[in-house]
């Protein structure tokens, strides 16, 4: 089956112009293919480049060389609007932190990705309620903005939002961090459901048990660190 996510020979460096134009190479020759229905874990020591690679796939970081093809769009070369369309319909990203917009109620935060693909307000909210319920966010909180929620609650809202629209490709950065056992179980269930419907998933999991449960294989990004050619 052809890959949903196809990363070839990707390299990246940072140039810090205001610090004497210091050049910091962070990745070289990254290769990775993820098929639909597969979940691949990125592993490696802290700072090895796991989040960096994920951000490059999402288009949040620029790529210096190579290609990152998601579906039929090469993120490394694409126009901004193509990446925006990709993020709306094809590629989902659950980051470690919920970036909160003040005044928007939780239910609308979660419904937003569905509104963005044209689902009407009622249907979108319906799905949002399902997810929030599954993730054990009490109903009395649904009309409030997540600004005042605990870290764990915010993370669960973040996850609900990330899984609202059925993305064919997903990037999950520490989805089970700051969750108790019960909710961790829910999230792993969501990931398994996504895999079952054919989503290609790349995830970062510090929790080895979680990793072992949902991921089909591991890729060590240390292998892509510049200067450490195998």
């Amino acid at each position: 089956m052809s890959a949903m996510i196809d990363i070839q020979s990707v390299s990246k460096q940072f140039v810090l112009h205001n610090q004497g134009a210091a050049v910091i190479p962070v990745m070289e020759g990254a290769d990775l293919r993820v098929a639909p229905g597969e979940c691949v874990a990125l592993v490696g020591a802290s700072g090895a480049g796991k989040s960096t690679l994920m951000r490059m796939i999402y288009g949040n970081y620029l790529v210096n060389a190579g290609s990152i093809v998601v579906g039929d769009v090469d993120v490394a070369q694409a126009e901004p609007r193509e990446i925006l369309a990709l993020r709306r319909e094809v590629l989902g990203y659950v980051s470690q932190f919920l970036r909160v917009v003040p005044r928007v109620p939780t239910i609308d935060v979660v419904a937003e990705p569905l509104r963005n693909v044209g689902i009407d307000a009622d249907a979108a909210r319906g799905r949002a309620r399902d997810l929030l319920g599954r993730l054990n966010i009490p109903e009395r909180l649904w009309a409030l903005s997540p600004t005042t929620f605990s870290g764990g609650e915010q993370q669960r809202v973040n996850i609900a939002r990330g899984f609202a629209h059925e993305f064919p490709a997903m990037l999950l950065d520490e989805p089970t961090a700051s969750l108790d056992a019960k909710n961790r179980e829910v999230v792993l269930g969501l990931i398994e459901d996504a895999k079952a419907r054919g989503a290609a998933i790349i995830g970062i999991f510090h929790d080895e048990a979680a990793r072992a449960r949902v991921c089909d294989r591991e890729v060590d990004v240390t292998g892509f660190t510049p200067g450490l050619a195998a």
């Binding site: 112009h17 609007r81 003040p102």
Partner: protein, 256 residues
């Protein structure tokens, strides 16, 4: 998909000084473009050239009109440009006073654009005005009050209502939250975000506030000394800035 706006090699000089130079970009329907830069970067000059308030020295500003396809608004006749400014385009000024008639009631301010394109039923005009005031969170009982009786944030929201009532496709905004209290800013930004998405608007927003672009803009252009030094997706430009100036700008923002 064809772009809504195509800007080619736009330049404006003030004698020997560069206002803005060789600016080119495309804007698609539904996209919000932020333009950031510090004072003197040329961002306001650029916005005013795009919106037809200033005549550029070189370049084209091509707009996808409803009836005539892609037209260069720089060389358009003034009546056509003014008509565009009342229907398909909107301009939200930094100071509400520049964008409102202070001596006319809120309802009259919102209704003016409707009357300018031929609305002749008082009842209809008034109810549309009240509807729009509600959408920008101004209470119905303020419809007959003059903007001079409104707070700064309310004046700004009234300005937005006045501009959006004819369903424009492109909105220009010049520091829309400048001078407003933080909580008022938050409310306004949220409102703008909602309206942009609901109405499928394209927008070009000039600001020096990076938090505003993070919230509202899909794409970002960074200007310095009249040049566009960097452009791309907002989150990419702010999280992975390539140009030295952008890096400086991003690192200078105080974390709250």
């Amino acid at each position: 998909m064809t772009p809504l706006l195509k800007v080619n090699e736009l330049s404006k000089f003030y004698g020997n000084r560069i206002g803005c130079e060789n600016v080119s970009f495309d804007l698609y329907p539904g996209e919000v473009m932020g333009i950031v830069g510090e004072s003197g970067s040329g961002k306001s000059t650029l916005l005013n050239c795009l919106a037809g308030h200033l005549e550029p020295d070189t370049g084209e500003v091509l707009f996808q009109t409803r009836a005539d396809g892609m037209r260069d608004t720089v060389t358009m006749s003034e009546p056509e440009r003014r008509m565009l400014g009342r229907t398909d385009w909107a301009f939200v000024h930094q100071h509400a006073r520049d964008g409102l008639r202070m001596g006319v009631s809120a309802g009259g301010n919102v209704g003016e654009r409707l009357m300018a394109v031929g609305a002749r039923n008082y009842g209809d005009i008034r109810s549309k005005a009240i509807d729009w005031l509600d959408r920008v969170e101004i209470a119905e009982d303020r419809v007959d009050d003059r903007p001079s009786a409104f707070s700064g944030g309310m004046q700004q929201r009234l300005q937005i209502a006045r501009n959006l009532v004819t369903g424009p496709r492109l909105v220009f905004m010049d520091e829309p939250t400048g001078g407003l209290d933080v909580s008022v800013q938050a409310r306004l930004l949220d409102l703008l975000r909602g309206l942009v998405r609901e109405m499928g608007l394209s927008a070009i927003i000039v600001t020096h506030d990076l938090a505003v672009v993070r919230l509202l803009a899909d794409r970002l252009m960074v200007m310095k000394s009249g040049q566009v030094v960097e452009s791309g997706l907002t989150d990419q430009v702010l999280d992975d800035p390539q140009h030295g100036y952008t890096q400086l700008l991003v690192s200078s923002v105080l974390q709250v």
